[in-house]
């Protein structure tokens, strides 16, 4: 009798489902477990669906020609994760999705989504909100990249994801910020000295 406390909570809160309806959905779940450093997606593959992160932590990143990784997104418990383009347009992904910690994922596949849609009155509305939140988030990131120094971007990062900095190695934070690990190290030293 598997339980998915986070996903259950998510269904109840966002989709206003009753307990009994939640169980109907539980039955459809084909959970996916990925151990640390395992991959959920690699370039060239089509990302089949979006995943709900029940537990653990993953990252979505690209690899540029010169061999450098650029982290697009982290996803910890209660987050949704996918290469949206690949899922929606059914095209090969350009990205990697790799587990940073052992992670338990719930694939939001066709059947599961249909069921939620069937049981929830505000399914569509929620999806729209999700997409718009995503866009808002991307816009903020672009704004930061256009206008802010490495130091400010780092401060914004820890403001936005206070716990993440303790769960991922520093070089991944640097990669997310678009700077080298050495630079991040220096930024942190300067910040420590000033206070």
């Amino acid at each position: 009798m598997a339980t998915y406390p986070n996903f259950t909570q998510y269904l109840i809160e966002k989709f206003d489902l009753s307990e009994s309806n939640v169980y109907l959905i539980h039955e459809l779940i084909k959970e996916k477990y990925i151990s640390s450093e395992g991959f959920l997606l690699k370039p060239g593959e089509i990302c089949k669906h979006t995943f709900f992160v029940e537990s653990g932590l993953l990252r979505l990143y690209s690899l540029s020609e010169n061999g450098k990784e650029h982290i697009i997104q982290f996803a910890a418990e209660n987050w949704l994760l996918s290469d949206r383009d690949s899922v929606f347009f059914r095209e090969p992904s350009k990205f990697y999705i790799e587990a940073i910690e052992n992670s338990l994922l719930i694939p939001l596949d066709e059947y599961l989504i249909k069921k939620i849609e069937e049981l929830s009155s505000n399914f569509r509305k929620n999806n729209e909100i999700l997409l718009h939140n995503h866009i808002r988030h991307l816009n903020q990131r672009i704004n930061l990249l256009l206008s802010a120094s490495a130091k400010i971007r780092y401060l914004e990062f820890i403001k936005l994801y206070p716990d993440l900095q303790f769960r991922v190695p520093q070089w991944m934070v640097a990669s997310y910020l678009g700077i080298t690990p050495e630079s991040l190290s220096r930024v942190r030293r300067d910040l420590a000295n000033k206070s």
Copy 2:
């Protein structure tokens, strides 16, 4: 008898509307004209709806504390333009929308959207595609900002918007790319020298 050739084309192509249905929608249009250097939106205002650009050219930009402009998006004929966050979440915008050329806009207000939805079978699908295209575009921009030099970003810009570079002053291109006008000038000189 106003005609909107671009918008008409757009309705027919994207929403599969018949000519007679197009006329039903024409009747609802409250066109908005903005002359060059006029503003469609300023920070603090709520962006009421998305606009279809029938003709002209505009830019959406933010102003950072240190007084620098950062262009988020250009929009020429046949483009949609809005501060999506502000429209969707009904919250005050942080952005300016300013006309670069005299521009004729078609506000996609509540009534107009309802009418299109009523008359078009694939309205929802189209909206979804629009949102996903937007996300894809933002992701590509983030990737570029994270990984590419000013020169490469400039080359990508003229590849993506071949005509735009001739319609906007160079300093606006620089602002879009996240570099200074001086730097862009030098990038262009270097490119010219090499070929």
